[in-house]
């Protein structure tokens, strides 16, 4: 009797605790995600309440859409370079900070002031992308007033009469955006890798030193394998960030919702938003969303597979 009452009360308790979070989550996250799949098979404009089922038409047009294909290419390029550059720089700095000091008692140790470096490097991480957009918009200004052009003019590397139009140069624009992402991310991954390095027991390093390993050897043979889990996680996170890019591209480059000059910095998210909010092609935009999801999942799986190693316990 009391057992029944208790389990009844417990069921009530469980339901009571789950109902509000689940309701919110279903309404605003899951249901819209599911709807996107449905809408992607329609010619819905977003404004009118009526729409027709068009099957795979949207997906077929996507294949032929030059702008979308270009955007996909740019995303793939970013997908390779953003994680690779960020992780390499972060590893480099993390190793410097943690093992670049003078060899004192106990072998390898960090540089003096390593705390200060970590504080400074990490700061961009708490800045919003909107602030980055304003800041780097000013840095990349196409006249002498931009920080970058100002510096290069001062150094005599470029002519003050013909400053570089960083964000309007078809070949440069994507790399300029890439730099912003790297600038933003390196500090965070430095701290992440530092934490992982510090959790490696000191005697492993001492043993390596006793065996006569140099610093480079220590890094590649000891540190890196022990950090592999963190590197792998970072690659997935950075890959997801490289698939997005919406805020930076839409606010820093020319054209409606960004992507300029002449679609040279177009990414999938900006094409999606333009089709949704500007062209009123909601069904088509939904199809792009589905493609982005598929690519994100495929790439996460590939990253996790390709970087899989034996897990090292310590």
């Amino acid at each position: 009797m009391s057992h029944v009452a208790q389990s009844k009360g417990r069921a009530g308790f469980i339901a009571g605790f789950l109902v509000a979070p689940l309701a919110l989550y279903l309404t605003f996250v899951i249901w819209p995600y599911v709807q996107t799949f449905g809408y992607s098979f329609t010619n819905w404009s977003g404004q009118s309440p009526t729409f027709d089922f068009v099957g795979l038409d949207n997906y077929a047009s996507l294949l032929k859409d030059e702008v979308f294909r270009g955007a996909l290419g740019h995303n793939l390029l970013l997908l390779v370079f953003v994680p690779v550059i960020t992780i390499l720089l972060a590893l480099f700095f993390a190793f410097m900070v943690n093992a670049g000091g003078r060899s004192g008692a106990g072998g390898v140790r960090g540089v003096g002031g390593s705390r200060v470096y970590k504080i400074v490097y990490f700061f961009p991480q708490v800045l919003s992308l909107a602030i980055l957009a304003v800041l780097f918009g000013a840095i990349y200004r196409s006249d002498e007033g931009g920080l970058l052009n100002g510096f290069l003019t001062q150094l005599g590397l470029i002519d003050a009469e013909h400053p570089v139009e960083w964000l309007n140069e078809p070949d440069l624009v994507l790399w300029c955006l890439l730099f912003v992402v790297v600038w933003h991310g390196v500090g965070f991954y430095l701290v992440l890798f530092s934490a992982a390095m510090q959790s490696v027991p000191k005697d492993i390093y001492e043993a390596a030193l006793l065996d006569g390993a140099g610093r480079a050897q220590t890094f590649f043979r000891v540190t890196l394998p022990l950090l592999w889990d963190s590197v792998q996680t970072s690659a997935v996170y950075l890959g997801i960030a490289a698939m997005d890019m919406f805020v930076l591209v839409s606010t820093m480059t020319s054209q409606q919702f960004g992507g300029g000059p002449d679609h040279h910095s177009e990414v999938m998210s900006t094409v999606l938003m333009r089709n949704f909010l500007y062209f009123g092609k909601s069904g088509y935009a939904c199809a792009m969303g589905v493609v982005m999801l598929a690519l994100t999942m495929i790439l996460s799986i590939i990253t996790l597979r390709a970087t899989r190693r034996e897990r090292i316990e310590f």
Binding site: M96, V111, A138, M243
Partner: protein, 311 residues
């Protein structure tokens, strides 16, 4: 020969290093000088990157004290106008209001996220029942999907509730989108708490609800802080959700832009009005509180974000 000398040298050297006292000064050991070179090299690169972080931010703040003509001129000129009037104008242009809007939303959305997220995570972590795993994966899977995927239907969903451009609409959406990560993280946290305490509380006659609020939640404080930091930063810096959901729907409706969104509006506006010091001042105003919060809590923020990402 060379190989032999290395073999002989290495242990002795390591021993010297471990004893620590010998050869502090005037040591010309190979490894030590290698350490010196590396140390200078390390500091060189580290300082360079530190400058690349700090300099643009200082330059931006200095821009608030320039005149518009000066901003169009050489970037490296020293500001000539040491008045705070650009900050005043930026505040009037709406930065103050955007700031207030963001605060209003976060005051409700962050505690609500933490409360609802912890409740769901707690029940899923500690009460076995049919469908437990399904619901858990349901919650967690949301973290995998790019937010763009949901954007179009989400807009119409919020519209149907008549909550476009309202605080409550954005608050509920923020809470919903913070759910996957909060549940995921708190779930693993609640699992690590010892069962003995729970049993003791049951014997003392505490109800399930009471155990949660008076025993489990206080014990989960370190986890709550980590996820809390993650949620505060994430929601404070959110751009896409407010950009879609917080547009005035009719011309009579007031602007309820969030700070990030307002800053971008200011960027467009100031481009036309050619009052760039206002934009620089606006960005500086947006950076200063983040800088202050970061410097006061940097240890917790670094630890919180790192652990929140690695879990």
């Amino acid at each position: 020969m060379a190989a032999q000398s290395t073999v002989i040298k290495a242990p002795g050297e390591a021993a010297a290093e471990r004893s620590g006292k010998t050869g502090r000064t005037g040591d010309r050991d190979g490894r030590r000088s290698e350490g010196m070179v590396l140390n200078v090299f390390s500091h060189g690169f580290l300082v360079l990157w530190a400058i690349m972080i700090v300099l643009p931010l200082i330059w931006l703040a200095l821009g608030s004290f320039k005149t518009d003509a000066q901003i169009g001129g050489s970037a490296l000129s020293w500001p000539s106008n040491w008045h705070f009037d650009a900050f005043g104008r930026a505040w009037e242009k709406g930065i103050g209001g955007y700031f207030a809007n963001t605060l209003i939303v976060l005051v409700f959305s962050v505690p609500l996220t933490m409360l609802l997220g912890s409740m769901a995570a707690y029940v899923l972590a500690r009460y076995p029942f049919t469908g437990n795993r399904v619901i858990y994966y349901f919650f967690v899977s949301g973290a995998m999907f790019p937010v763009f995927l949901a954007l179009v239907p989400l807009f119409f969903m919020v519209k149907r509730f008549d909550m476009l451009n309202t605080y409550q609409g954005l608050i509920l959406v923020y809470v919903a989108y913070s759910m996957p990560f909060t549940v995921f993280f708190m779930h693993s946290f609640f699992r690590t708490l010892p069962t003995a305490i729970h049993e003791a509380a049951v014997i003392d006659g505490a109800s399930d609800t009471r155990i949660f609020f008076q025993v489990m939640l206080p014990m989960a404080k370190p986890g709550l802080i980590s996820v809390g930091i993650f949620n505060v930063l994430g929601q404070w810096n959110q751009y896409i959700l407010p950009a879609v959901l917080m547009q005035p729907q009719t011309s009579g409706e007031p602007e309820r832009y969030m700070l990030t969104q307002g800053l971008i509006q200011l960027q467009y506006q100031m481009g036309y009005e050619t009052d760039l010091p206002v934009l620089f001042a606006g960005a500086t105003i947006a950076i200063i509180p983040m800088l202050a919060v970061y410097l006061s809590f940097q240890r917790q923020i670094q630890a919180g974000l790192t652990s929140a990402t690695l879990k």
